[in-house]
Amino acid sequence: MRATAQNDAHQLPEQLVHQVWQSLRNHTLLDALLIVCPLLLTFVYILLSLYRTALLDALTLSLFSMAVLVAAISTIYLRFRPFIPSRPTAARLVDEKAQAQDRFMTLATLGPTPYSEIFVSRIRREAASLTGRIEVRRDFPYQFKRSFYRSVSISVLVLLLFQISLSRFYTSSALSPQKRLSHLAEQIAQTPHLSELARRLKDLTVKLDDPAVSREEKKTLIQETRQEVEEQQKREQQTESKDLLSDASSTLKSLEQESGASQQQDQKDSAGGEKAQQGQNETKQSSGSGKDSKGELSAQANKDLQGGKSAQGNPQGPGEEKNPGKQDQGKGNQPEASKSGQQNSQEASGQQQAQAKEKLGKSKSEEIPQDGPPADRFYKPGEEGKQSIKDGRYVTVQLPEELAAGGNGVASTSKDAQESRNRPRIPVSNVPLPAHVPDAPSEKQPMPLEYRDLIR
C-alpha cells in the first residue's frame, strides 16, 4: 500500500506534464478551428445564397462545397500540426508556473541513459511535492488569439460586401419583373407543395414573352395568377415560403401595372392619332382669320379658363355652400360652349400654322406638329373626368356683386368669346391650393382686387 502510494506520487509529475501537454494541444486545435470556421461558414453562406437565388445549380454547389470542405480540413491540419507544443515545452511551462527550477523539464526529457536512480527519484519526489501549485484549467486557460479576431473581421467584411453586391444585383435594371418572376418561380419550385404554383408562374412568364397572346389576355392571366399567389400566401405557414410568395405577388403587381400602363399608352396613341386627323380636317374647312399668334396657348388657356373658372356662370357669395347641381349645370353648360370655342380656336391655329409654313418655307415634316395629340395631363376623349386637366385642382373665384349681377354664368356668343380671347391672358389662379380631397366641395375665394377690372 505504501509502495502503491509512493508509485502514485511518483507518477504524478509525469501525469501533470501530460495533462498540460494535452491541454495545450487542444488549445492549438481550437486556435486552428477558430481561424478556419468563420471563413468556412462565410463561404457556405455565400454558396447557399447563390443557390437559393438560382445563380448556382446543385452540381456546382456540391462541387464547391466539397472543395471548400477539403480546403478547410487541410488548412486546419497544416495550421494545427506544426504548432503542437512539445512535451519539454509543456514541462517548462509547468516549471515556470510552479517555480520548480526545471525539475519537471528534467524529468520529462531524461532519456534511457543510465542516470543515478537516487537522483532521479529525488527529483521526482521534489516535483511531486510541487504539483499542488498547479491547476491545469486555472493556470493554462484558453485565450482567444488575434488571429481569431482577424478571421472574424474578415468574415464579417466579406459577408457585408456579398450582401451589398447581391442586393445591388437585384435592384439593377438587368432584372426585369419578368426575369425576377422567372427566378422566383425556380425558387418556389424547390418547395414540394408549391411546385404546381411554380409551374403556373413559369407558364405565365412564357406566355408574357409570347407575342401571339394579346395584352388583355396577359393582364387577365397576371391578375388570376396574382390572386392564386395571394391566396397561397395566406395559407402558407413557413416564413421562407411566405417571403417568396410575397415577392412573387409584388412582382405580379408591377407586371400588372406595366401592362395597364402600356394599354393606356396604346389608347393615348390611338386618341392622338384621331385628334390629329380631326385637326387637319378642320383646318381644311375653316376660313377663320385668327389674329392670335399664340394659337396653342390660346387653346390651352381657353381650356384652362373654361375648365377652371366658374366666374361667368356661377355667381355665389363667399362662404356659401356651393350647390352641386347648379355648379354642375354651370360647369355642364361650359363644356358645350367651350367646345365650339375650342373648334374655332383650333381653326385659327391651323390657319396660322399654314401661314407660318408658307412664310418660312419649311416642309411639313420639319414642323413641330401643332395638331398632334394633346399632352398627357389633359383628358382624352372618352376618358372620365370633370375637368379638362387630369387631377387638376381649381379654385372657384367669387366675383364682386356688380359683375355677378350682370353675368349669368354662360358664355353666350362667339363675339363674347372673341372679346375674351382678345383680353390679356391671366393665370387661372395664383393662390396656394390646399391638399386635394376628392369629395370635398370646391373652394370659394374672393377675387383679388387687381383682377376685378380685367374680368368683365
Binding site: R92, Q101, D102, T106, G111, F119, I123
Partner: protein
C-alpha cells in the same frame, strides 16, 4: 556520498572562509566549485583586495597543503617544479630530486603574468597533466591539485600576458572587485583592531578521500538534454565566423577574433553542476548555466583590436549572447 552531505560540507567551507574574508561571497563559492570540479582559477584584481588571503584561507579550511609562488621576471621553471640536486647519502653522492613548490594541493601563483613564458609553461604542464617532468623523469602531483593564479590588470610594463592557449586551461576567471563601504568598514574593524578571526578546518587532514567523493558526486548531477543543447548553442554563438558558428550577434562578429573552445562548454556544465549541488539540488537548471557563463567564458573569447579600442569588454559581449540565444 549524499547530496545533503555535499551541501552541508560546502556551506561549512563557505562559512569558515567568510570568517576571514569579508565580502567576495560569489568569488568564494566559485572557487570552491572550481575546486570540486577539478579546475584551476585565475583571479584578476588590483593589489590589496585579499586574493592571497583568500587562497590561504581556503586551503586552510580544506585542510590541504598550500604553497605560494611569487612570480617574478627572473623566476626559472626549476624554481617552480623542482630540480635535481647533488646529495650525499650512504657514503656516495647521487642526484636527488628536490620537489618544487608546485607539489602542493593548492598552489597560489601570484602575479603569474610577471614571469617569462618559459616559466609560465612549466606551471601549465602541471595544471594540465597533473604531473611534472624533470630531466626526463615524471613526477605525479597529489590529488586534489588546484592552481590559483592571480594577475594585476594595471601594471602592464614588464609583464608577459598569458597566451590564449594558457588562458584556456583555467576553469574560471574571476574578477575581484574592491569592497563596498560596508565591507570596507568590516575589513578595517577586523584588521586594525584587536579582534582576530579564527577559522576551523572543515575537512580532516586525510580529507583527500572525502574530496574525491565530493568530486565524484558532482559529476553525477543530472543535466537535462535541453539544457545541454542550450550550453552548446551558447558556446556556438560566440564563434564570429559563419562557417564555424551561428554568428548570430552583430557584436560577436564585430568585436571577437576567436570564440570559445570546447573547454568552455565543459567548464559551463561542470560549473553548473557544482552550483546546483551547492544549492542542494541534484539537477542543473537554466539559472545555474547563466550564473556560470561569465566566469567560464570571459577569458576564452578573444577580443579584436576594435573591441580594445572601443573599450568593449568580454562581459558585455557575453551579455549580448545570452539575450540572443533563446532557451529553447
Amino acid at each position: 556520498m549524499e547530496p545533503e552531505s555535499f551541501q552541508q560540507t560546502f556551506n561549512q567551507l563557505e562559512r569558515e572562509v567568510r570568517k576571514v574574508i569579508v565580502g567576495h561571497d560569489d568569488i568564494i563559492r566559485r572557487v570552491l566549485i572550481a575546486f570540486f570540479a577539478g579546475g584551476h582559477v585565475l583571479l584578476e584584481g588590483v593589489p590589496g583586495l585579499g586574493k592571497t588571503l583568500l587562497v590561504k584561507t581556503l586551503s586552510h579550511a580544506l585542510g590541504v597543503s598550500f604553497k605560494r609562488i611569487q612570480f617574478t621576471p627572473d623566476l626559472m621553471p626549476s624554481d617552480i617544479v623542482g630540480t635535481q640536486v647533488l646529495a650525499e647519502s650512504s657514503g656516495h653522492r647521487e642526484f636527488q630530486f628536490k620537489k618544487g613548490p608546485i607539489f602542493a594541493h593548492v598552489v597560489l601563483a601570484d602575479e603569474i603574468n610577471r614571469a617569462t613564458p618559459k616559466t609560465q609553461s612549466a606551471v601549465l604542464e602541471a595544471m594540465e597533466e597533473k604531473q611534472v617532468t624533470v630531466f626526463g623523469e615524471s613526477h605525479v602531483l597529489e590529488s586534489p591539485f588546484m592552481v590559483l593564479a592571480t594577475q594585476n590588470p594595471i601594471e602592464l610594463e614588464g609583464t608577459y600576458p598569458l597566451p590564449e592557449a594558457q588562458l584556456d586551461r583555467f576553469f574560471f576567471k574571476l574578477l575581484v572587485v574592491p569592497p563596498n563601504p560596508v565591507e570596507l568598514r568590516e575589513i578595517l574593524k577586523r584588521t586594525t583592531g584587536t579582534e582576530s578571526s579564527t577559522m576551523n578546518k572543515v575537512l580532516p587532514e586525510d580529507g583527500g578521500k572525502l574530496v574525491n567523493d565530493m568530486k565524484d558526486l558532482l559529476r553525477h548531477v543530472l543535466i537535462a538534454p535541453p539544457i545541454e543543447d542550450y550550453v552548446v548553442r551558447l558556446v556556438h554563438a560566440t564563434q564570429p565566423h559563419p562557417q564555424n558558428g551561428s554568428g548570430t550577434g552583430s557584436s560577436v562578429k564585430q568585436y571577437l577574433r576567436f570564440g570559445s573552445s570546447p573547454r568552455g562548454a565543459q567548464s559551463i556544465i561542470l560549473g553548473a553542476k557544482g552550483n546546483a549541488l551547492a544549492e542542494g539540488r541534484v539537477h542543473v537548471s537554466y539559472e545555474d548555466v547563466e550564473k556560470i557563463l561569465y566566469p567560464a567564458l570571459r577569458h576564452r573569447i578573444i577580443l579584436n583590436f576594435q573591441a580594445e579600442a572601443e573599450n568593449v569588454t568580454a562581459d558585455q559581449i557575453m551579455g549580448e549572447v545570452i539575450k540572443q540565444v533563446p532557451r529553447d
